[in-house]
């Protein structure tokens, strides 16, 4: 199936929210069993599960809306497992390989703080179902922000080795930051004029935490983009190959 032809801004927005959450969750799940210590392994796996749970909520709602308008019978699984990479609207940052622990943390910090300000706006959206999902997710996001920003401070302001690694990670991820706040038409349709304040609050928070962590923010403002339109890096294909294999090889199998 494909969702490329869909014009409804709410459905597109829901797909984007779901895709960002799902791909983040999948990337974090790769850490399961590989965390630096048992406690952090569990912490990150918890976050992965939170994100996949959020993705499910967005997909379920989107699947209902698509089914209603097209008559095609869809479920959350069709959206997660049967779409191809050009249908996915996640930002490129989410699909990048995890790298080391510090890079994973930094990515989580960027995404969680963005979701934090975004969901605060969605929580008061006139679409009550969307508002409900955002409100439920915010409790989890709150913790993700707290956990990831503490780690950014720890590692940025830690040993010279940890600082070096965080600076390198920042260098790698920074070109993928701007895409989040280059808003598409369907985002602006749902968010109204709120999108500007999300951008401002998010940037302010990022700068505050990075400054406190003693990490110098790269001046290069070049923006890697295209994810929101379905133009992805090669990495997404590999993620989908692994994630979707079972449903594609054995359609409708359950466990």
């Amino acid at each position: 199936m494909t969702t490329k032809q869909i014009k409804n801004p709410l459905i597109n927005f829901l797909l984007q929210l779901g895709d960002n959450a799902l791909i983040m969750g999948h990337r974090n799940s790769e850490w399961c069993g590989h965390g630096p210590v048992l406690e952090q392994d569990i912490a990150l796996t918890n976050i992965a599960l939170d994100q996949i749970g959020q993705a499910r909520n967005f997909y379920q709602y989107a699947a209902t809306l698509i089914s209603e308008s097209s008559g095609e019978k869809l479920t959350e699984d069709s959206l997660a497992y049967l779409r191809d990479s050009w249908d996915f609207k996640n930002c490129l940052l989410t699909e990048l390989p995890n790298g080391h622990w510090g890079q994973t943390i930094l990515k989580q910090f960027f995404v969680s703080t963005y979701q934090y300000y975004l969901y605060q706006e969605l929580e008061i959206n006139s679409d009550l179902k969307l508002a409900g999902i955002a409100s439920k997710s915010l409790k989890e996001i709150n913790y993700h922000v707290r956990w990831s920003s503490e780690w950014v401070l720890r590692l940025g302001d830690g040993t010279s080795e940890s600082k070096q690694k965080m600076l390198a990670a920042l260098e790698t991820l920074w070109p993928y930051i701007n895409e989040w706040t280059i808003f598409t038409d369907y985002e602006i349709e749902i968010l109204g004029n709120k999108h500007q304040s999300i951008k401002e609050k998010w940037e302010e928070k990022i700068h505050a935490v990075l400054n406190e962590a003693g990490l110098i923010i790269p001046s290069d403002a070049y923006a890697q983009r295209g994810g929101k339109q379905g133009n992805h890096t090669e990495h997404l294909g590999y993620i989908l190959a692994e994630m979707q294999f079972l449903q594609r090889a054995y359609p409708n199998s359950e466990w």
Binding site: L38, E39, I42, Y143, E150
Partner: protein
């Protein structure tokens, strides 16, 4: 960073060094994170109960780890953490001297009184 983890058992602390504060120095490498004991209150009005232990670099991390490791199935409404080195434990070798004498003092249980029917909830 290689993080060494060494398993302690309850009761190890007092014996290793006589003073609790010194036991930090006995950690094998400086990269090793201290051990913390976690106490969870399962609901308002109940006591905090020992839930287990974990490793963390400091109290803030220990609190987050405790939340992730011990309350992910809705087990608690409040968490206490204390660094394990501050817990003084009785020596298992002393168990006879400490606890056996209470074994045959059944009269210390208030079970030899006839309670009037009017007294409830005893």
């Amino acid at each position: 960073m290689k993080i060494g983890i060494r398993k302690f058992f309850y009761g190890d602390y007092g014996e290793e060094k006589n003073s609790a504060a010194e036991s930090t120095a006995s950690r094998e490498t400086i990269n090793e994170w201290p051990l913390w004991e976690v106490f969870i209150r399962s609901k308002q009005g109940l006591d905090h109960k020992h839930a287990g232990s974990l490793h963390a670099a400091d109290a803030a991390m220990a609190m987050e780890n405790a939340r992730d490791v011990y309350t992910r199935r809705n087990e608690g409404v409040s968490i206490w953490i204390v660094e394990s080195k501050y817990i003084h434990a009785s020596n298992p070798d002393d168990a006879d001297a400490l606890f056996d004498p209470a074994n045959d003092k059944i009269y210390r249980h208030p079970s030899f009184y006839d309670l009037p029917d009017e007294v409830k909830h005893m």
